[in-house]
Assembly symmetry: C2
Homo-oligomer: 278 residues x 2
């Protein structure tokens, strides 16, 4: 039975009791933002980066969180203390609030939940991801809004294709996955990731920082043609960390095996997570 505690506006309550009235603009108009960070051994990972992004997203949609970052960090710690789920994810949702006319934002509703996560399965890195491409740019890509209509809809297509994820592009310019970022390693070991029409992932940022210590690493325009010449490719996200991409549509990358640079960065990223305070 689920007795997890959540935080809703002003108080800690059982998550199973967190309900929003139908007039909330999330339900009326899909209007809201969120962010999500991992908790490892009861320690939040890169929480301040995530809170910075949450506040940027909220400002982008004109939503006022009502609490400051220190207060939200303290609530996250309150959930960690209460729920005792050492390996977990904390999700913060800020909605458009109970709108009078069903269109204009009101005082936002703030919901913070903590959910169990499973450590990345051992075999997933070695197996790598098979992905398909789809022409789409997310609406307001730099804002982590709750709107994932196309991403959710494409789940059916992924299942049919036997693929693990879908890579968005526009006119051949690659941007991102619905919930993850994309990197390629070029033949000269240069590490590149798309620079625009993306959500700036925190794992993406940390990976770029790590890559710059050991390789040349840049945010650039990445095209579908670049994939054909890529030595390695990988995906980054809070939940997935770093996973090799071994096939994109009909293009096999690095003979379908994880590449050396990808493996090196994944190891370095695991070390960083192990040693990082929030």
């Amino acid at each position: 039975m689920n007795t997890r505690i959540a935080f809703f506006n002003n108080s800690f309550i059982e998550e199973e009791k967190v309900f929003l009235h139908v007039s909330d603009l999330a339900i009326q108009r899909g209007y809201g933002v969120f962010d999500f960070f991992k908790v490892v051994n009861d320690v939040p990972l890169f929480m301040h980066d995530h809170l910075d992004r949450l506040f940027n997203s909220a400002a982008g949609l004109g939503l006022e969180p009502g609490l400051n970052k220190t207060e939200i960090a303290s609530i996250a710690q309150g959930l960690i203390n209460r729920n005792k789920i050492p390996y977990s994810g904390i999700k913060i949702i800020l909605t458009g609030g109970y709108s009078q006319d069903g269109y204009n934002p009101a005082t936002p509703n703030l919901i913070i939940t903590q959910q169990q996560m499973l450590p990345r399965p051992a075999g997933i890195f070695e197996k790598g991801f098979k992905v398909i491409t789809f022409e789409h740019v997310r609406e307001l890509p730099e804002i982590k809004s709750i709107n994932y209509t196309t991403g959710v809809l494409l789940q059916q297509k992924l299942t049919l294709a036997g693929a693990d994820d879908v890579l968005y592009h526009k006119n051949g310019e690659i941007s991102e996955f619905p919930r993850s970022n994309f990197f390629i390693v070029m033949k000269n070991d240069k590490v590149v990731t798309p620079s625009k029409n993306i959500l700036r992932g925190i794992t993406r940022k940390k990976t770029l920082e790590l890559a710059r210590k050991h390789f040349t690493a840049e945010e650039v325009t990445v095209t579908l043609d670049d994939i054909r010449n890529a030595k390695e490719a990988f995906i980054t996200s809070t939940s997935k960390e770093i996973i090799p991409v071994v096939m994109i549509d009909d293009i096999v990358i690095n003979n379908g095996k994880p590449g050396e640079v990808t493996r090196f960065l994944d190891t370095k990223f695991a070390e960083l997570c192990h040693n990082s305070p929030a």
Copy 2:
């Protein structure tokens, strides 16, 4: 005090008691569809067109309404009988449901509400609408999804500009307003409306049918350049009916006055509404 009755999944309950758990995919991912029709003198207007569109939208997002159109029509009548709001709007929302993983749809939640509407103010037709343009195409425009992130966000811009609405275009090709359709009347009295990247409005459909009886009327590509040569322009929607557009950015249309064709169609549309069963 609000004691309006709504319908939620299986039963009629007070609207103020209609709450969705935070796990609903509308809140988690902005995933859901809706439709909205008017009730005049306790009679639903063009309800079957709206229900057809709702079911198409639901199918487009892979959501199963759980009830058929006859059952939903009967619930609408149930609300009309209970609430006694002769001039009103009925909104039907179908969400992605309580998702286990916060990403994949579950059994949808169905919410039907009835709200008071005010008849169109007498002066609004004569005053007409001043609109601004904005480069944007809605995601999955032919599906009436709940996602209006850009439209809601642009409300602030509208207020600053002193404008009544915002007209979307892409590379100069006009599509629609966030919640309404767009028509122009050309110099030869030909009535045209954008053919693609739009939600197919029911008032748009009825207006096209009326226009075809008296003029040439076509769904075509309409560009920003066409506006400069337009004799008249107008907006159509369920709530607004037909309202002249007298200014688009810095372009004044028909000397800022309602045009004759627009007035004729508005009169004919009012007659149609007056004489229409659902």
